[in-house]
C-alpha cells in the first residue's frame, strides 16, 4: 500500500501508562512503542526490527495483538487494516544441540 511517510502522525505525547511492559520477553514498554511509531516506524514489521518487540523467546505470541492495537490507535486506523507479520521457523525454541542432531527444521 502506498504510504507517504512524511505525513505527521501527531507527535509523541506522554501518557500515564507508558511504563507498562507490553513485550515481556524483550521488556519493551508501551511508551517505547508509541515513541517509535511517532518516530516514523509505521508497520508492525518495522517495530519488531527497531525494538525487538515480539522477537524474543515467545516470538510475539503474547504481545502480538497488544502491539497491533497500539499501532492502530497511534495511526488512527482499524487493527485489521494493518499488514500481518511473518512467523518463522522454528515453531518453538530449540537447543542448538537438538537441532544439530535433527536433519530438519520445520519451515513456514
Amino acid at each position: 500500500m502506498l504510504q507517504d511517510r512524511t505525513k505527521n502522525t501527531g507527535g509523541f505525547s506522554p501518557a500515564p501508562d507508558d511504563g507498562l511492559i507490553i513485550c515481556r520477553c524483550e521488556e519493551i514498554t508501551k511508551g517505547e512503542i508509541r515513541r517509535a511509531i511517532q518516530d516514523g516506524l509505521l508497520t508492525l514489521t518495522e517495530l519488531r526490527r527497531f525494538l525487538r518487540a515480539g522477537m524474543g523467546l515467545c516470538q510475539g505470541q503474547t504481545c502480538g495483538r497488544l502491539v497491533k492495537s497500539i499501532l492502530a490507535r497511534e495511526l488512527g486506523v482499524p487493527p485489521a487494516a494493518l499488514e500481518p507479520v511473518v512467523s518463522r521457523a522454528p515453531v518453538r525454541p530449540v537447543e542448538m544441540q537438538v537441532l544439530a542432531r535433527d536433519q530438519e527444521i520445520d519451515h513456514d
Partner: protein, 375 residues
C-alpha cells in the same frame, strides 16, 4: 498521476538508500526515497549477519571498509541517536586443518599488502582471545579492528534520522522505469506516480538490474540465497566477530542484547527457489553441527528464529558505485555481493558526495560499471 520533485531521487529503501538519504538531507538538499515494500529495509538490509569487516575484502572494496571503520562507525550511534550495537572487538577467522590455515595465510597476506592490520595466530593464541573455542581450532587470522553491528537498527536508524532531517520516504511504490530527457536521467516512473530528480540513485539491490535496463545499462548481478539464525539472549560470552576458513558459518553475539546471530550456508546458494527467500531444510541443522565443533559451550542455547535473504552477487563480487558516460544524472549503487552492510555508512556518504558535489571523496574508479564493457 501526480508529479513529485526532489534534488535527489533514490530508488530502494535498503540501508544504502537510507544512509544516502541521511547524508543528503544532512547537507540540506531535498531527497525522496522510493521503496516497493510496505516496510523500510525489507531486503538484505534486515536479513544480514551484521559483520563489519575489512579482513577478507577485495582490495577494490577495502578502502571503503577501512574508511567507514575509522571515521564513521565509532560515532554512528551518537550521530543517529540509536544504539546500532556496534562492537569493534576484532574478527577471528578460524581454521581446523592445515589446508584451511593455508587459505587463511593467503587471505592475510593479501590484506596486509593493502595496509590492513591482520595477522595469523596459533590455536592457543586464539583461545586466549576467545576461551570458548574448542581444541579443534588449529589457528586463525586475527583482525583486531573488525567488528559487528545490528543491521536492522542501523537501517532504520538511518531512515529515522533522515526523515527527521526532512527526507521524504514513500513505501509501497514499485519503480518501473528510469526516464531520460535529452539524454539525462531525470525522472523515475513508479506504479503510482512520477518522480523528478536532479540526480537519480539506483540502490534497489537485485531490483537494480531490470531498472538499469530501462536506460540501456546492464550490471551483471546474480541472486544467491543466504540464511541466518538467531538465538535467545544469554549472558555475555564473547565480543568478537567470527568466521571460518571452511565458510561453514559466521556470526557474533549482539552487544547489549546477548542473542547470537549466525550466518549459514547451504552449499546450494545459486540454486535456491526463486521468489520469496526461504530457509532451506538442512542448512540450519548443518550449521549447528559445525558451530558446536568450534564452540561446544553453546549446545544448550536455543535457536528462536531463522530466515533467508537474497544477495545481489556481482560478476566480480565487488559493488558497482558509479556514474556512467551513457546516462548522466544516474548513479548506480548495487551489486554489494553479500558484504554491503559493513561499508553501508561509508557508501551512503560517498553517494551523497557523488550526488551533491559530482565526485566522491574516495577514488571509486575500480568500481565503475564500465569495467563490464566488452573488451
Amino acid at each position: 498521476m501526480t508529479e513529485h520533485n526532489a534534488d535527489v531521487v533514490i530508488i530502494g529503501g535498503g540501508i544504502m538508500g537510507c544512509a544516502a538519504a541521511y547524508y543528503i538531507a544532512k547537507r540540506g538538499a531535498s531527497v525522496l526515497v522510493l521503496e516497493k515494500e510496505d516496510s523500510i529495509g525489507s531486503g538484505g538490509s534486515s536479513r544480514n549477519g551484521g559483520g563489519v569487516r575489512q579482513s577478507g575484502r577485495d582490495p577494490r572494496e577495502l578502502p571503503i571498509a577501512m574508511h567507514g571503520i575509522q571515521h564513521i562507525w565509532p560515532t554512528l550511534a551518537a550521530e543517529l541517536d540509536v544504539d546500532v550495537e556496534y562492537c569493534q572487538k576484532g574478527n577471528l577467522r578460524l581454521g581446523k586443518t592445515a589446508a584451511q590455515l593455508k587459505i587463511l595465510e593467503s587471505l592475510t597476506q593479501k590484506a596486509v599488502s593493502c595496509g590492513l592490520d591482520v595477522r595469523m595466530i596459533s590455536g592457543d593464541e586464539a583461545r586466549e582471545i576467545n576461551p570458548y573455542l574448542s581444541r579443534e581450532v588449529m589457528g586463525a587470522s586475527w583482525c583486531p579492528t573488525d567488528g559487528h553491528a545490528n543491521p536492522l537498527l542501523a537501517t532504520l536508524g538511518f531512515y529515522r534520522k533522515a526523515r527527521q532531517l526532512g527526507a521524504r520516504f514513500i513505501s509501497g511504490e514499485t519503480v518501473t522505469a528510469i526516464e531520460k530527457i535529452r539524454g539525462r536521467a531525470c525522472r523515475v516512473r513508479g506504479a503510482q506516480g512520477v518522480y523528478a530528480g536532479g540526480t537519480i540513485i539506483l540502490a534497489a539491490g537485485l531490483g537494480s538490474r531490470p531498472l538499469a535496463w530501462t536506460v540501456g545499462l546492464d550490471v551483471p548481478l546474480q541472486p544467491l540465497l543466504l540464511e541466518t539464525l538467531v538465538t535467545e539472549a544469554v549472558d555475555t560470552m564473547f565480543p568478537q566477530m567470527l568466521g571460518t576458513a571452511a565458510a561453514d558459518f559466521y556470526g557474533h553475539q549482539s552487544v547489549h542484547h546477548g542473542s547470537f546471530v549466525f550466518g549459514v550456508t547451504s552449499g546450494y546458494e545459486p540454486y535456491a527457489r526463486p521468489g520469496l527467500p526461504r530457509s532451506s531444510a538442512g542448512a540450519a541443522a548443518a550449521a549447528c553441527r559445525s558451530i558446536l565443533t568450534y564452540f561446544p559451550a553453546l549446545e544448550h542455547i536455543k535457536i528462536i528464529r531463522s530466515w533467508a535473504g537474497w544477495i545481489d552477487d556481482c560478476a566480480d563480487h565487488v559493488p558497482v558505485l558509479s556514474f556512467t558516460d551513457e546516462v548522466p544524472g544516474l548513479i548506480l549503487a548495487c551489486g554489494f555481493s553479500g558484504h554491503g552492510f559493513g561499508i553501508s555508512p561509508a557508501v551512503g556518504r560517498l553517494l551523497s558526495e557523488m550526488a551533491l558535489d559530482g565526485r566522491p571523496a574516495l577514488d571509486l574508479s575500480a568500481l565503475r560499471q564500465s569495467r563490464f564493457a566488452a573488451k
